[in-house]
Symmetry: C2
Subunit: 297 residues, 2 copies
């Protein structure tokens, strides 16, 4: 089937490039490669994008709207952070200079916060996508992942946000620390909940509870699935203890991969929050569509 | 110079083997190799030890007293954990069967605690060494390192202990996480103290403060030494918050590498603890000497 893109939406992260052939708000096709920002120098971005999208081009110049680490200093073009409070999307998004005549590329800038110091790149597009689907929404968005973001939204602006390295800590501890010998595949809901409750109610114990996962295994041969779920619970519990000023008494939407979003949503519901979930890829696309509409055609 | 060992003391850890030629309580010579427990299968321990000590052997059978991971299940001989409360040293230490006639090897067993689950191997020998030098000492020993141990000692017994992965977390975060781009060499006392005070007084903020190190650097180009010291302060502060039941109002001795011990000691003094320090290698040797005296000759 011959796909002819009216424009192209691009989610370009540290480790992956994902492109969507679009007609208005509709996705015609998508393609993914491992050509993430971290693997490319400045001259390699355009060939990487053309390799993935060439079959969609119809002649003339095709607009491309991209978000994510492609706009970092080490990316294709630096799209400087915009300071909060601010709308999630800028009125002007950043054009990439000197591209091939086939593509006219624009990059969505990330957001920064001066105090406490914080930054995001990519998540602002998901926030914009969510707000384009839910006009006048006030509340808190939680975007769990490698670096989980908590984002306070009010009056169509990002008021403040805070980042937690929970996903990266989980990966480091479960794959590279002494806990790798005890943590394996699988899951155990009760162990997750026990870990979560413990570090949410007594966050200062986290530092001691990590090695206890290894020691329990040495002394009692803990199942690997149970160790995995407990570690996840302890880390997410510590994050919830630290992010309490964000979620306490708030309306929350969790935007992420389904399984992880559900873990956060269940934990927040147990704390009495009114919580819903949304798919992160849907929100990224909605945000890129909103950015294209701002571009004005 | 020809060294003739009356006996040999061995500190055999995960990544390193260190041997001492001894005459009574005196060190005649020492030697180190990278043949740690993790690199050896069962048949390779004896050749590794002989390679390091052969020149010290005087004919007949030489006694060897070893401590550390050499006694783990994956080590030379499993020296089963002894449950606390118990003296730091067992009356019987574990002989290695079927060694070469030149060596008669004994391994000091580690300690375990059922609840909260915890284990140690090697540190019990440092504790025993400290107590051999300070009879009737009651208080708390802090042994900082990759896995920091807090040990409550009373009436010549280890009453309880708790392990913190602070050193391993620091290494993972500073070398393998996104913080590696911001953390470099050097040190900054004020940044250490600020991080320490923050997570000691508000331990729940640790999870949020880690990414802030990266964000501060992106926004304000933080010096790498300052980022390093702040990360260390945040992690040690979180450990001190969690170990408060151990140190509050106690007499403390910190046993470790000098620079690291001094960091802990200063932090504890600032909390009003009566704190002193002792060298970890001295204490290991003193403990191995005490173990040999128990062996009875």
């Amino acid at each position: 089937m011959n796909v002819q893109a009216e424009w192209i939406a691009v989610d370009w992260g540290t480790s992956r490039l994902r492109a969507f052939a679009m007609a208005g708000d509709r996705v015609l096709a998508n393609a993914t490669s491992e050509q993430g920002m971290s693997k490319l120098n400045k001259a390699e971005f355009e060939p990487a994008l053309l390799a993935l999208t060439r079959d969609w081009l119809v002649g003339g110049t095709t607009d491309v709207i991209a978000c994510g680490m492609v706009g970092a200093r080490q990316g294709w073009v630096e799209a400087p952070y915009r300071a909060v409070p601010t709308p999630a999307l800028a009125e002007k998004i950043i054009p990439v200079p000197d591209t091939d005549a086939q593509l006219r590329v624009h990059v969505v800038p990330g957001l920064k916060q001066v105090k406490p110091a914080d930054v995001m790149r990519g998540e602002e597009t998901q926030v914009a996508g969510f707000l384009s689907r839910h006009p006048n929404w006030d509340g808190v968005l939680c975007l769990p992942g490698t670096h989980t973001k908590w984002v306070h939204v009010s009056a169509d602006e990002v008021v403040s946000f805070r980042t937690f390295m929970t996903g990266e800590l989980f990966a480091l501890l479960s794959e590279q620390s002494v806990l790798q010998h005890s943590v394996g595949d699988g899951w155990d809901d009760a162990a997750f909940r026990a870990g979560l409750d413990l570090s949410l109610s007594r966050p200062q114990t986290l530092a001691a509870e990590l090695f206890a996962i290894r020691a329990s295994d040495l002394l009692e041969a803990t199942p690997a699935a149970l160790a995995r779920a407990r570690l996840s619970g302890l880390l997410i519990g510590a994050e919830l203890a630290a992010s309490r000023p964000y979620w306490l008494g708030q309306q929350i939407t969790v935007i992420g991969e389904t399984a992880l979003s559900n873990l956060y949503a269940e934990a927040l519901k147990a704390q009495g929050c009114f919580t819903s979930v949304a798919d992160c890829q849907d929100m990224t696309l909605a945000g890129l569509i909103a950015a294209r509409n701002l571009l004005g055609n």
